[in-house]
């Protein structure tokens, strides 16, 4: 009787775990007329979870990063959200807005945008506001029919964002049709880029006026969250914390790394671009850090806690009890 109950419980937990892992790498999420491709997924716990509130594999859910792959050309207002289904929006694919015509476009902070992403796009409100984008492809703003406003707070890697490659493989300047506007604060970030030559900067009220006009002075449109506030992108997978004084156990942190040989998301391009999940395990007792490529919480009714964790790395599988001891 007891054995059958254990098997039933294990099955139930496994089903729960499967349900929690909604999307795998390569899946397409569609929401509000915008398509996203999952670049990487990994298991995390809820941001406010502690070891006392995690009872088994069912408390883990998948999170990760997605890239926007398609936006409808007919929509007047486009809002790219900061996150979709607990996945962070990190990039825009090549030529995403190529030749599009929209009234207003709102973008979150991004890690990358692909080649020619905003090329030949027309924004009817008169300006396209770019927040923090860490890396850009080639000819990103080529013949953009709008003022380009950089409202940045971080540095960037521009690459050849203001250059384009011609049919004969030569590089020529590529620029928006209208003005490039920056805040005085962001000016230092564009210093090493061609945009510096043909940009106008302002600070204080003057710059705010530009941004407000780009969104037609619509406060609600501007209030799209730039940074997700709900801890969905919490990288903490599991920890023996909050027992900070405990000298046993381990911390697991999930992270995404660039796929080898594809360190820039353009070239042969964002179509083939994925990132790789990695779990960093810090053993508190031995004070060693080990990286693993996969992580599986496994229900086991035979154990006192009812479950254990399994990692897959270069040296094969490693099983840990929750107090950090290896299961041989």
């Amino acid at each position: 009787m007891r054995t059958s109950f254990t098997i039933l419980l294990t099955l139930l937990l496994s089903v729960g775990r499967l349900l929690a892992q909604d999307y795998a790498t390569g899946d397409i999420i569609e929401q509000d007329g915008i398509s996203y491709k999952v670049l990487v997924s990994y298991l995390v716990v809820d941001g406010k979870a502690t070891p006392d509130t995690i009872y088994g594999p069912q408390d883990f859910h998948s999170s990760g990063e997605v890239m926007v792959t398609k936006v409808g050309n007919n929509t007047a207002d486009v809002v790219i959200p900061a996150s979709v289904n607990k996945f962070k929006v990190v990039g825009l694919t090549d030529s995403l807005f190529y030749g599009h015509e929209h009234d207003r476009v709102w973008l979150p902070d991004l890690l990358f945008v692909g080649n020619g992403c905003f090329a030949k796009m027309k924004v009817k409100s008169g300006a396209l506001v770019i927040h923090n984008i860490s890396r850009m492809g080639m000819g990103v703003f080529d013949e953009l029919d709008a003022d380009l406003i950089f409202d940045m707070t971080n540095g960037t890697t521009w690459g050849n964002a203001f250059m384009k490659r011609n049919a004969d493989s030569t590089l020529t300047a590529s620029r928006p049709l209208r003005e490039v506007k920056t805040s005085a604060r962001a000016l230092s970030y564009v210093r090493n880029c061609d945009a510096y030559k043909y940009s106008i900067s302002a600070s204080g009220k003057n710059f705010t006026k530009w941004v407000d006009a780009a969104f037609r002075n619509d406060a609600t449109f501007q209030e799209n969250d730039r940074v997700d506030k709900f801890g969905r992108f919490n990288k903490k997978t599991y920890s023996t914390m909050p027992l900070a004084k405990s000298k046993k156990g381990f911390n697991i942190t999930a992270r995404a790394t660039e796929a080898k040989g594809m360190q820039m998301p353009w070239g042969s391009l964002t179509r083939d671009y994925y990132r790789i999940a990695q779990y960093v395990v810090l053993d508190k007792k031995k004070k060693t850090t080990t990286n693993y490529s996969d992580f599986i919480p496994v229900a086991d009714a035979m154990l006192k806690e009812g479950w254990y964790v399994k990692f897959v790395g270069e040296n094969g599988e490693v099983k840990y009890k929750l107090d950090g001891k290896i299961i041989k």
Binding site: Y198, I200, S201, A202
Partner: protein
């Protein structure tokens, strides 16, 4: 015997008459000016003249002994003059001046104000030597309500007056008024300016002061600077007022006239050249050259001068402090001029003459020509003195004739 006595009596009488006449002339000499009285550095201070469409007011004119002299070539077609230093081995007395801009004489034209320019000395009737003028400031309301195609200014001027460019209009295609950094700009200089205002800051490192220049922001035009200068701190300039732009905009907005002009708004090296709008380091000279025992002159700002309550009063005229090793005296003069044999200085209203090694020439009348002018072309004898001098000369001539006749 009788003839001899007659001759002696006549000669005695003639000598007496001559000495009397000379005594009378001595009496008519003007009284020596009090040293404490205000010294006018140059009597042409405040005079206005026009040059290439711009009206200038003379602030001061000063002479300086230098190796070489300025050879000037005038281009009648362009109406410009270029100066080149010649004859470096010899010592020459070169003329310099400082002017402030008072306005323009024409509308709807390109106006280029060079930091330095050369003109013929028609302000000094007898001299053909050039004066090299430096533009040191702009008067209050100088360009108010004018309409110009373009206006190009030098950098580093000492002073730009109140409302200097108020409601000025730039009518060129570029519609941009490039304003280089000046040492001080007074209140409301750009109120209601009908042009895009572009402030340039290249290579000017001295302290600059903008006093309430940008206070009524509603009346101001859009003000631009280059990105590179957007961090440039100037007292009285609120950075939030400014837009900064890249080189491409600066080049696009640069006026056509800039390409023909000596000073260029985009060429920084030209700015460096124009950045000296004041008497430079070379303010000390000796009449016989350096390493000699001769009078030493220092040009300095006049401590006292007549004030007229105009913009000109901001700029003190120059005066010469001199130590003369021959007389071991220190003195202050308002004018100085020199030729190959002597130099002349003016103290109060009196002209004093010295040889180049500093020995005073006391017999000034011997230096004057038949018109009563001294070797520097200045009329120093008045009508009465001229009459007395003629009488004395006539008497001397007659005495000499008599001597010749009588065989002395």
């Amino acid at each position: 015997m009788r003839t001899f006595a007659l001759k002696s009596a006549f000669i005695l009488l003639a000598g007496l008459t001559a000495s009397l006449a000379s005594f009378a002339a001595e009496e008519q000499k003007p009284a020596k000016e009090n040293n404490e009285a205000a010294i006018l550095a140059d009597n042409r201070r405040g005079e206005k003249f026009e040059h290439n469409g711009v009206i200038y007011t003379i602030s001061s004119i000063y002479n300086m002994v230098e190796a070489g002299h300025w050879e000037v070539k005038y281009d009648s077609t362009l109406g410009t003059a270029t100066a080149k230093r010649e004859g470096i081995n010899g010592l020459y007395c070169n003329r310099y001046g400082e002017v402030i801009v008072s306005g323009v004489s024409a509308q709807h034209v390109d106006v280029v104000i060079n930091p330095k320019f050369v003109t013929k000395t028609n302000y000094d009737s007898n001299k053909e030597e050039p004066i090299i003028f430096t533009v040191i400031g702009i008067e209050d309301n100088a360009f108010e309500k004018t309409s110009l195609r373009n206006l190009i200014l030098p950098t580093g001027m000492k002073h730009v007056g109140k409302e200097a460019f108020k409601e000025m209009e730039i009518t060129s295609e570029q519609g941009t008024f490039f304003f280089p950094l000046q040492k001080r700009v007074l209140a409301d200089a750009f109120d209601g300016l009908k042009a895009r205002l572009f402030l340039t800051f290249e290579f000017y490192k001295e302290d600059c002061h903008y006093d309430k220049t940008f206070r009524n922001t509603d009346l101001l035009p859009e003000i631009y600077v280059h990105h590179n200068n957007s961090g440039h701190a100037v007292e009285g300039l609120d950075r939030k007022l400014l837009y900064s732009v890249g080189s491409e905009y600066q080049e696009k907005w640069t006026p056509d006239v800039d390409k023909k002009s000596d000073i260029k708004t985009t060429d920084v090296t030209k700015y460096q050249r124009g950045a000296v709008s004041y008497l430079g380091d070379k303010v000390r000279f000796k009449t016989l050259g350096e390493n000699t025992v001769s009078p030493t002159f220092n040009i300095r700002k006049a401590r006292k001068f007549n004030k007229t309550n105009t913009c000109l009063d901001i700029f003190a005229p120059y005066e010469y402090s001199c130590y003369n090793p021959y007389t071991s005296q220190q003195d202050v003069y308002s004018e100085f001029v020199m030729n190959n044999n002597m130099y002349r200085v003016k103290k109060g209203k009196e002209y004093l003459y010295f040889t180049l090694d500093g020995k005073p020439i006391t017999d000034k009348k011997s230096l004057t020509d038949r018109n009563g002018k001294d070797p520097f072309g200045t009329q120093i004898l008045n009508d009465d003195e001229m009459k007395a001098k003629k009488n004395t000369q006539n008497l001397n001539n007659s005495v000499n004739n008599l001597r010749n006749q009588l065989g002395f």
